[in-house]
Symmetry: C2
Subunit: 380 residues, 2 copies
Amino acid sequence: MKTRLFTPGPTPVPEHIMVTMAQPMVHHRTDEFKDAFVEVNENLKYLFCTEQPVLTLTSSGSGAMEAAIVNTLSRGDHIITVNGGKFGKRWGKISEVYDLINHQIDVEWGSAVSIEQIRAELDKAPDTQAIFLTHSETSTGVFTDVEAMAQEIRSDFDGLIIVDGITAVGAHEMRFDDWELDIVVTGSQKGLMIPPGLAFIALSDRAWKSTEKSDLPSFYFDLGQARKAFEKGDTAWTPAVTLIMGLKESLAMIRREGREDVWKRHARLAAGLRSGLTALGFKLFASPPSNAVTSAYLPKGQEKFQKVMKERYGITMAGGQEHLKGKIFRVSHLGYYDEGDMLTFLHYAERTLSDLDIAFEAGVGVATAQQTFSTLLSTQ
Amino acid sequence: MKTRLFTPGPTPVPEHIMVTMAQPMVHHRTDEFKDAFVEVNENLKYLFCTEQPVLTLTSSGSGAMEAAIVNTLSRGDHIITVNGGKFGKRWGKISEVYDLINHQIDVEWGSAVSIEQIRAELDKAPDTQAIFLTHSETSTGVFTDVEAMAQEIRSDFDGLIIVDGITAVGAHEMRFDDWELDIVVTGSQKGLMIPPGLAFIALSDRAWKSTEKSDLPSFYFDLGQARKAFEKGDTAWTPAVTLIMGLKESLAMIRREGREDVWKRHARLAAGLRSGLTALGFKLFASPPSNAVTSAYLPKGQEKFQKVMKERYGITMAGGQEHLKGKIFRVSHLGYYDEGDMLTFLHYAERTLSDLDIAFEAGVGVATAQQTFSTLLSTQ
């Protein structure tokens, strides 16, 4: 049985990159590594649409989230976070550890925060130093329109806008400089198509300025150290060398395809999958939906849908987290996926519905997705 | 030209493990990953000679060093560190970030701290909460007899003994439970023979107890979270999955060879290389020397020795760090090395000496190492 990974991180690694990462070790203080790292750094800037350095950390994305906080804020600072999913909530959890005053906006999981909610919270807490947003909330599949929100907030807010782009970068348009974002973080095992182990973070001039007055302690995640090393084409600590050698290849793929076309492909795959699932009778969960991951309710009384997909058809997807466990499933189209992969998923979803004696019109999932792809291809 | 890596981290990765790590991605919340991780955890306990959990972090070794401090100590705590090399000094640097009171013992780089120096410092600072040792100081190649020191200190010291085992674990005998150590950290790209990106940390009951009263903030490196996940065969954050799949294989190799035989092999390789270098006229730098890495002075006026070895013979070794730059070179025999590798290094060292018109007796480096290997094999 062929097995296929449809989880929103780790995502599949392109075959030639697996082979690249299996090359004999190079030492990280050699020209060979430095040349690769300099290329990686240039292409990360391209992907982030920024002139700022995009720093590479050896950690998961959560490490970069902590780095965003400990480098720019101080004890007692007021912040606004959005609890609309597991990862939005994580900003609040980190802030507790560092004695920040967290004004948390609770949003029903599956929905996005509105600009009015942010405005209202800002009115209540005018001393806010930082607003934290989640561009694509992996746990729910919800998209937040960071571009519109940043534009609106920026008109009269001079604190930091800090964005979890962990599943958004590579899937959604994100223009770090143009949108005047202050921090964006992401991870390697998402849109960047390599295994987990690296995280990335970019800071605006405003964010770099705030690092000067931050009083929170950090050593491993000290971005001043990271930047000093970056400027020499180096890292502060021994980096995950093999992953960086793989990243060089995956960023080269993104550059060849073109970031705008990568974003369009994700939009097309997401729309196709959503239309196919809907045609099969599934109820979508997230509104508005992310282009990185699609979430839908499990068929009523048929929570084993996910299990059958895995055991009979080799399809690994993700389930719901926390109170959404057993209620929804999540399908990734983040990174190394194409239209064929979406059709494959829908085909086995149809097969599984048959196995579970759930009524649907045979072939309609696949056919609907195909139509969506064609329509979008001609209009995108 | 064949190229060979003789650096003390990253160290060479066995060929079959490179291939293992090039397998398609598995998700970290699957039985396949969990089974691998449970085996890894068992074999880490075997290697550390402990019944305590050995926690896996996705970071470099420096991240685990920070974890050791932030989880067990509190602001204003007195500690003793040893500045006898770049990595011993690092304990002091981390402690500054967290407002600890650091009683630093300065030791000439190339020498080990003595028990009398530790005693004297303890007498001056009787409130010391933790003593930090470096089992094998990578920057100098010096070995510290942690076993003897811990035994001596432990007689009347009830604070923490915290050990940087980053290049020692896998090269030197280290019995975490029997020696009553409180924390040992190591990294993946050293004796564990896989690429950089993972770090490991074990805590004694005494150290776990001290985590309860520690007031230093941490999120990503919160070992309480790591332990909770560990107990479910899981990690707190998305781990570097491919490296863990490789680690499963490298730990299996160590288990097959037997930890005692692995330690003996390192002792033999180190002794052979030292004897060969000495026979060729090199002056060794470290006293006492580590079995992980051998350091020696560069030939006088011939600092290009290292460069010629690399460019003409494909041998990458490490140079000196900080004030030792251009003074010494360092050769690794840590991890995936055997006697043949040491003879290869010595052979090309001889060739390079010839190229540089430095007098030596042809073949004496290789022959001396061979004799040392034979002698040790029959007596070990």
